[in-house]
Symmetry: none
Subunit: 410 residues, 2 copies
């Protein structure tokens, strides 16, 4: 088995200022290529300690990944530490230096000579292109070991993992093929899912893991074989058996998202949607427009945070608000119907509730009403969520999209 090790670099990690989601992201990629992962290290922006950490990693692992410390400031020491750990020296890449200078002049940014350190790489290595930042990655091979350096900013890091790093790992892994599929299940709890598929969870190939996420349960099926075809033959029957049991509650494969699924169904029916949000304050609309191409199906939305906005922009009746309050089934109904009309959409979704942290109108924290209307038939669901304000808002968004999806399935 080829063994990888991650070395995360940054004093802010050791100070607990940020969570190391990059390391988790990369770690989750290794199993796809049957690559082992037995150790992970985190060190601060300290040259000697980083060099020691790299030497230790190189002594016990085949592939060593560093994350962070490639930028232009003084505490970006990764490049130099890698050269030291490999007993190599840094060489200036004139072409890259030129490219950097050009970039700065094109963008009218003041040039600082410290930027130039990004144009150096160890002689034994080469750059990995970084389309979203000025610091390229590094790939160095020496004595049968490979050392790869990736930048820390998430918007640079993730595209590099998904592009060149996945390609590299596929190449390295050679023999064993690990094939996995994730089925995302809506509207069921973790133990309900386990109960429903318990008799299918036996043996270790394919293996089945069940993971709880807010408002979704993920079932991960993983099969390994010497060829992709054989792995697929192991995986397929188990996947089919699970799909047969859970039916439309399954959202789709690995890449499926609830918002993507809803948009696809809207597009297929050539229908549009508009949102009317109170306690979620725009989060339903934001999530529906996460994906490109949403403008075909999403007309827009209205965030009605005050009573006045509910009346003026959505046409909720004053009597309804007075008799039942803003957090009520009746208000949810009129909001969903109102936004359909106001924005001329086929579907209207509404969310009104109390996300906390205090009771309001005598309505308890976590009480949320979700309405879905097609102009003639409006359904309202009542939810009682428990947790922090952020969690209640997140669950409400999930429940709103799931409610619309169920209406679209009918």
């Amino acid at each position: 088995v080829v063994v990888a090790e991650i070395v995360s670099i940054g004093t802010e990690l050791l100070m607990g200022q940020i969570v190391d989601t990059n390391a988790q992201y990369l770690a989750a990629v290794f199993p796809d290529y049957g690559i082992g992962h037995y150790h992970r290290q985190t060190v601060g922006d300290n040259f000697d300690r980083l060099v020691s950490a790299l030497r230790l990693a190189l002594s016990r692992s085949d592939l060593v990944f560093t994350i962070g410390g490639l930028g232009p400031t003084e505490d970006d020491i990764t490049r130099k530490a890698i050269a030291a750990a490999l007993e190599d020296e840094l060489a200036l890449d004139e072409r890259y230096a030129e490219k950097l200078r050009r970039l700065f002049s094109q963008r009218n940014l003041p040039w600082l000579d410290t930027q130039l350190q990004q144009a150096y790489h160890p002689r034994s290595g080469h750059f990995i292109e970084n389309p979203n930042g000025t610091a390229p990655g590094l790939l160095c091979r020496k004595n049968g070991k490979t050392l790869i350096a990736l930048p820390g900013p998430k918007q640079e890091f993730i595209p590099m993992v998904e592009g060149p790093i996945r390609a590299f790992l596929a190449d390295v892994s050679g023999g064993t093929v690990l094939l996995s599929e994730t089925l995302k299940v809506l509207d069921m709890g973790e133990s309900m899912v386990e109960e429903a598929i318990r008799d299918l969870i036996h043996g270790s190939n394919p293996s089945i893991g069940i993971y709880a996420h807010p408002g979704e349960v993920h079932i991960r099926i993983t099969a390994s074989a010497e060829e992709a075809r054989a792995a697929a033959d192991l995986l397929a029957p188990v996947q089919k058996a699970i799909e047969a049991r859970l039916g439309a509650r399954i959202l789709g494969g690995k890449e499926a998202t609830l918002e993507g699924d809803v948009l696809q169904r809207l597009k297929a029916k050539q229908q549009t949607v508009a949102t009317a949000e109170s306690c979620t304050g725009g989060m339903v609309a934001a999530r529906l427009t996460d994906a490109p191409g949403a403008s075909e199906s999403v007309v827009g939305g209205i965030v009605s945070y005050t009573l006045g906005a509910k009346e003026q922009a959505l046409g909720v009746r004053k009597e309804t608000l007075q008799a039942h309050g803003a957090v009520s089934s009746q208000t949810a109904q009129e909001m969903a119907e109102g936004v359909c009309k106001a924005l001329g959409a086929y579907w209207g979704i509404s969310v009104t509730g109390n996300a906390g942290p205090t009771e309001s109108e005598g309505k308890p924290i976590g009480l949320v009403y979700i309405g879905v209307s097609d102009g003639t038939d409006t359904t309202v669901e009542e939810h009682h969520f428990r947790g922090t304000r952020a969690f209640i808002r997140q669950r409400a968004v999930q429940a709103a999209l799931s409610h619309l999806r169920r209406r679209l399935l009918d």
Copy 2:
């Protein structure tokens, strides 16, 4: 300086199935007691590798914390590995064994003998009480080193850190106090910030770290001394010097957020705001309503994803859209003015742009216009962001709130 090291234990961490928020939580506590933290390790549920990791940690750090692997199942190996690393043996605590048995019978749970392993501790150590679970923590002292084992489940881990661990660290740290402050800077890049305060970054007490976040740069100043007063006296002049240079670009202290700062300024002026969003699809409104109590200042918002919605809900003129397009300074202006009127707010913020992934109306990806209007004076800023769709949207939200903040400062 007393040096601590964290060893996180769990194959699920190395598989990337969960993020290690516990390690971050504990790491953030060390600076409060002036305790150094130079290395962190993560290992799977493997006895030999865990023993090696513990030996390495004991060889270079004074306090070694393990997180996880204390439960009753077979892959809970931490207790045995600690005994091996300390060359100690495990002893059964009869009283704790009895307590466990009683607990199970009281709760009518079936007793399994595997539960009993939780009643063992190394002879050189003792238990740390865990009020929220069956596995107690461990504290072992040998050869001048201290090894502390904490359980992994968050609801058990956090109360133990906040209780006995903080008490222990206060006791250990005795002398040194570390004091730190974070200044969040808006509208400046990382190297511009470094350039502006370079001459202040010298010496190591106080030390200054600069960290880039999307749309913000954080400056962390850390001072250590034998007394809180002396640390504050070291920190204050550096903080003042930085504040004097960067002025209102500094958002505030550690806990400050851009949305919180904007809400506070609105509240102080008794003014309200409404949002008109296109490419950010509701994200500005969602962020403004993240904090409780936003309803005093946030009236609501309109997400106008289509041209029709821009006309109907915001009153943008058809001629404007035809002549300049949806992504234009003119449209941003009319959106900001329109939402002020439509929702009756003092301020209107608008965002219209192309977040990608393709050109539209011939407007390049990343071009975003942000308007802020008080009904009589509307300012529009043009931005060119580079990156993924998600990143462009995030930067646009940040820029919109920062633009409103600058208007509120006037």
